[in-house]
């Protein structure tokens, strides 16, 4: 199963954190810090796959990909195919891109709720639910249309 999805920027600030196995907040932060430590010291032309046993316990794997200023990180176990996870990451980013047309870090910050909805349409309980980015976007848009009367809200960031 997929254990966690983390999006963070190149300064190590988390932008989206979703754990599919409960972790106390200190542990989450420790993980994010150590993952960031690994990622920012990695050379450019090396594999996107990292064994994460030391960070997340036995048979944990980590796949990451950099999009502009953001690291997308998926943590999962051996029951998943690494390359397929990489595809899935692409689906996630495509979905974000369709939702926000030319998604950037700020979109993710200011549309925090929508990003969560998109992720919930792709992964549920650590399992993949949908792999078509257009289906994902359709579902999210539909849900938000229901509530269009009151949708001007965006969370304010400190």
């Amino acid at each position: 199963m997929i254990r966690a999805v983390i999006v963070m920027n190149d300064k190590g600030k988390p932008r989206l954190v979703k754990f599919y196995e409960f972790q106390p907040v200190e542990k989450q932060q420790e993980l994010i810090r150590s993952i960031y430590g690994v990622l920012c010291s990695r050379a450019e032309k090396v594999s996107n796959f990292i064994r994460a046993d030391s960070i997340l316990g036995p048979d944990a794997r980590l796949v990451y990909k950099t999009y502009a200023t953001l690291y997308f990180v998926f943590i999962f176990d051996t029951s998943e195919n690494e390359l397929a996870i990489l595809d899935l990451m692409q689906v996630f980013v495509e979905a974000l891109d369709k939702c926000f047309s030319n998604v950037c870090e700020l979109d993710i910050v200011f549309n925090f709720n929508k990003v969560h909805s998109i992720l919930d349409e792709i992964i549920l309980g650590g399992q993949v639910i949908e792999t078509s980015s257009s289906e994902v976007v359709k579902a999210v848009e539909e849900a938000y249309r229901c509530s269009s009367s009151n949708s001007s809200f965006t969370p304010v960031v400190n």
């Binding site: 600030k13 409960f22 595809d87 969560h116 549920l124 309980g125 639910i129 792999t131 078509s132 009151n150």
Partner: protein
């Protein structure tokens, strides 16, 4: 709120205060009194702060209470924040069960989805007990939309995983079979995940679903009824393919012949259809499917798999994976694995040093299996013979243990395998130094037993190994590790088509140029064909001139490359005319008047092997030097820059109006790390950038990838690793080319990885110096020469010159004030750290001559160092050097003439 305020953490504090004030303003102390907008805002903020790493231990109740809000925006916040903040054992969750259940059984699909998502993410026992039947109903309901059903499938999966005792799945095989007939791919994907969980638990109950899985795969492989939005870079839902294959892996066999045949067809389609393309995402997806297909391949049909081994893309793939797959293949279906295939593994491992310990370890692991195929015995024995010693420190991998486990297999193998085992024994014997008498006797006993074997091959090996192993040293030489295989000589490698493929796809991506670069480097005798531009309008002497790159492993000049050998033969015919007529950039080319036929022929062998018409273009693509080559003039004197860099570790190596190449170096013992800084000085990009290193045989050089394009005003850093193998004065050359507008520029630059960089000055006291000096008594370890034509300089100047070359002058050692004594340590892989001593005796009456004595523990080092110092004393810069300083073989006692003529890199460097 005092508890909250005391927390004192900054953003949390501000937020808590804000929250408290708002509540107070609304109606005293109650969250309920806030407007829906305010509630929503504060709960979202809470999640955001939580994500930033602050332990938000208030407001949980408020988040949970939002779940029961009547409208979507608040409800959504409640659900999402609750599922992120709370875990399954949290008390507050129980409060929400009723609301969640109402949402699940209710009519509002959006609410159903939210509720299912919450349960799927954090549902625990309480949820399982009260909700599982409802969720099951939703999943199989025909009136529900796919949107809801796919979530129900995964929700059920979560409940089942967490509490298999609570969720009743008896009799689900029929329902599961029905679900696998689903047309909607979203529902099918999540159903397949559920199915994998159920099957992994108990595959016996789900036999009826097996044909459905195969049917799903067929549908995907044939791309039947797959909506466009589910094809990912042209591949029908790779994710579902992977999941389905995962599910199939849980079934040990497939009884039904029809199903088996269909599956085989699908897998074959996957194997044959997978290819390497330009798009990285597409490659990822297709290889994800391919890997699962390989894992799934039924052993009975394995012959189909062998075809894959020949496929080019393997070369591009992760290498250890390749070895794994082939070893697995041999293990599972040795009968179908021809010798070609295991030879290839061996070749692959031999040519990839990083892989050797891994492969040896794998081989060792397979030997532990109770019954292994004979081919596996062969591969394992070979690999352990060659690389077993790399495992020495691991448990169960001592020479003795490796020997005994291999020897155990001997009675079970046929005569064709015995010779391999004998070789392995001999190699084990060689690697166990000092020899263990017991092991040695055991192995000798085996050799002598087979000395009278009826099989001639076995007999010969036994006799030879026995005789050799008694000689000790000779054994070492003959049984030394196998050199790398020249890959291009193996028609099965199809390297040519790889190169072509890379070119076909307009090799722009870094990956492709990496392949191309690797391909060029792998063919150790790659030819660089240069289009010689006529200088001063005179007709060109020869259209094509061949520059042979130095071979990285000089062992492989053998029969298959007659064309090249022939070129080698003519190599000594150096025609000085073209180089002297254009002394600029092209002067440094080594022009050979070879018959054009030879050139084309050898090029043909190298690059394409099929279409001759393409050859000329291919060849030109390798290193184009256009007509305008000499219109771009370098800024500053290249030779001066080089000489300066020989003394310092950073500076500019080359500069012209478009590009500047800087260098920065660090040296430690026999290792060096240079960084080339390629800077584009203009506002337009530099394209077709190529940097090749022409290394002399004594240096191992590894240049990291150089990008094809340097953006405007950008600087690219390319690290270059240097390992000094032997003492030598030869110089590495950087062959650098780029295109700017219509200008194609190609320059060959000497790299300052010169002998003195591997020196480390060391002070020596009189007590240390004299015994050393005396113990190195004469040639070849101590050489003396009278040097004439020395640049006039004072003794002080000479001392500082020596120091600048890292030869440490030791004052006071020599009683004669006109003499100079210096010491240094030289580092190379073959000599390790070696002390060198130098003595210079000058004549105050005639400063143009001196007598120099150099001593070290290595004859080559002594000679090279002496020559090196001489060069520095006689002239800096190189103006006084002969125009074509072809090294004279006689002058070098340690290098044979043959080795010299086959190392044109050195000659090329000499010409610069």
């Amino acid at each position: 709120y005092h508890g909250i305020l005391r927390k004192g953490q900054n953003p949390l504090f501000a937020f808590a205060l804000d929250f408290a004030c708002l509540c107070a303003r609304a109606n005293g102390v109650n969250f309920k009194g806030l407007t829906p907008y305010e509630k929503k805002k504060y709960v979202w903020k809470m999640l955001y702060i939580y994500m930033l790493g602050y332990d938000v231990d208030f407001g949980h109740m408020e988040a949970v209470s939002l779940i029961s809000a009547p409208k979507y925006p608040e409800k959504q916040v409640g659900y999402i924040v609750t599922s992120s903040l709370l875990n399954e054992n949290h008390d507050f969750l129980r409060l929400a069960i009723n609301t969640v259940r109402n949402d699940i059984v209710g009519r509002n699909e959006t609410f159903q989805c939210l509720a299912l998502t919450l349960v799927g993410n954090i549902g625990g026992r309480d949820f399982a007990e009260s909700l599982a039947p409802d969720v099951q109903k939703l999943l199989i309901s025909s009136s529900c939309r796919p949107l809801v059903r796919k979530k129900a499938a995964l929700c059920l999966l979560r409940l089942f995983r967490k509490n298999p005792d609570v969720v009743n799945v008896d009799g689900w095989s029929d329902r599961m079979a029905q679900l696998l007939d689903e047309r909607d791919l979203g529902v099918l994907t999540s159903s397949m995940s559920l199915f994998v969980a159920l099957v992994s638990n108990n595959h016996e109950s789900y036999w009826s679903c097996l044909p459905k899985c195969v049917k799903t795969l067929e549908r995907l492989a044939r791309n039947q009824d797959i909506p466009q939005e589910y094809t990912y870079y042209g591949i029908p839902s790779p994710w579902l393919q992977v999941k389905t294959m995962r599910a199939l892996q849980y079934f040990p066999t497939i009884e039904d012949p029809n199903t088996r045949r269909s599956l085989f067809e699908v897998l074959q389609r996957v194997l044959m259809g997978t290819d390497v393309v330009k798009n990285v995402n597409k490659n990822n997806a297709s290889h994800a499917v391919l890997f699962e297909a390989l894992a799934l391949f039924p052993p009975s049909n394995i012959e189909g798999l062998t075809c894959i081994v020949c496929k080019d893309f393997i070369l591009v793939m992760v290498v250890p994976w390749y070895v794994d797959v082939i070893l697995q293949l041999i293990d599972k279906a040795g009968d179908f694995v021809s010798d070609d295939i295991w030879f290839r593994v061996v070749q692959f491992v031999t040519n990839n040093e990083d892989l050797q310990p891994y492969a040896a370890l794998k081989a060792r692991e397979y030997l532990d299996k109770p019954a292994i195929h004979e081919t596996m015995v062969k591969v394992s024995a070979y690999l352990l013979g060659e690389y077993g010693h790399l495992l020495a420190r691991r448990p169960g991998c001592s020479p003795k243990e490796i020997f005994s486990i291999i020897h155990e297999k001997l009675p079970t193998v046929s005569t064709s395998t015995i010779p391999i085992l004998l070789s392995t024994y001999a190699k084990i014997l060689m690697h166990s130094q000092p020899p263990e008498p017991e092991l040695q006797n055991q192995i000798w006993a085996i050799f002598s037993k087979y000395e009278s074997c009826i099989d001639a091959e076995i007999q010969q090996r036994a006799v030879e190994y026995f005789a050799l192993s008694r000689k000790g040293e000779a054994l070492m030489d003959i049984l030394a590790e196998m050199p790398k295989f020249p890959e291009r000589q193996d028609p099965l490698w199809k390297q040519s088509s790889l190169i072509k493929k890379a070119e076909d796809t307009e090799a722009d991506t870094a990956e492709q140029s990496a392949i191309k670069l690797r391909a060029q480097q792998q063919s150790s005798n790659a030819l660089v064909v240069t289009d010689q531009s006529p200088a001063n309008g005179t007709p060109p002497v020869s259209q094509l001139s061949l520059v042979k790159m130095p071979s990285m492993s000089s062992e492989n000049h053998n029969t298959a490359e007659q064309g090249v050998t022939q070129a080698n033969g003519t190599l000594s015919v150096v025609d000085p005319q073209p180089s002297s007529s254009s002394p600029g950039l092209l002067g440094d080319l080594l022009a050979i008047e070879g018959p054009p036929g030879v050139a084309v022929q050898s090029e043909h062998n190298l690059v394409s092997g099929s279409e001759g018409a393409l050859d000329a273009e291919d060849a030109l693509a390798l290193a184009p030097v256009g007509e305008q080559a000499n219109t771009v003039q370098p800024i500053g004197d290249i030779a001066e820059r080089f000489n300066a860099l020989c003394l310092k570790d950073s500076g500019v190596l080359y500069e012209d109006p478009y590009v500047q190449i800087g260098i920065k170096a660090e040296w430690r013992a026999h290792h060096g790390r240079l960084v080339l800084f390629l800077g584009n000085k203009n506002t337009a990009p530099l394209v077709s950038v190529q940097a090749l290193i022409l290394p002399p045989t004594h240096l191992r050089l590894e240049l990291s990838l150089v990008p094809d394009t340097i953006p405007p005003r950008a600087q690219v850093q390319c690290p270059l690793e240097v390992v000094n193998l032997r003492p030598s004065r030869d110089v590495a050359v950087l062959d650098f080319s780029y295109r700017f507008g219509t200008n194609v520029v190609n320059v060959k630059l000497r790299l300052p990885a010169v002998l003195n960089k591997f020196l480390q000055p060391i002070p020596v006291s009189a007590e240390e110096f004299f015994p050393q000096w005396r113990s190195l008594s004469g040639p070849p370890l101590k050489l003396q020469e009278v040097v004439r034509g020395v640049r006039p300089m004072s003794l002080m100047e000479m001392a500082s010159l020596f120091n600048s070359f890292r030869l440490m002058v030791c004052p006071g050692l020599d009683p004669n004030a006109n003499n100079l004594v210096a010491s240094t340590t030289f580092y190379s892989e073959s000599t390790r750290a070696m002390l060198c001593l130098v003595r210079v005796e000058t004549d105050p009456a005639d400063r143009s001559q001196l007598r120099m004595t150099v001593a070290s523990g290595d004859p080559t080092l002594t000679f090279e160092l002496k020559e090196f110092i001489k060069e520095q004393l006689v002239s800096i810069p190189t103006a006084l050097r002969p125009p074509v300083p072809v090294p004279t073989p006689q002058a070098q006692p340690t290098t044979s003439p043959a080795a010299l003529s086959s190392d044109p890199g050195a000659m090329l460097a000499g010409l610069l």
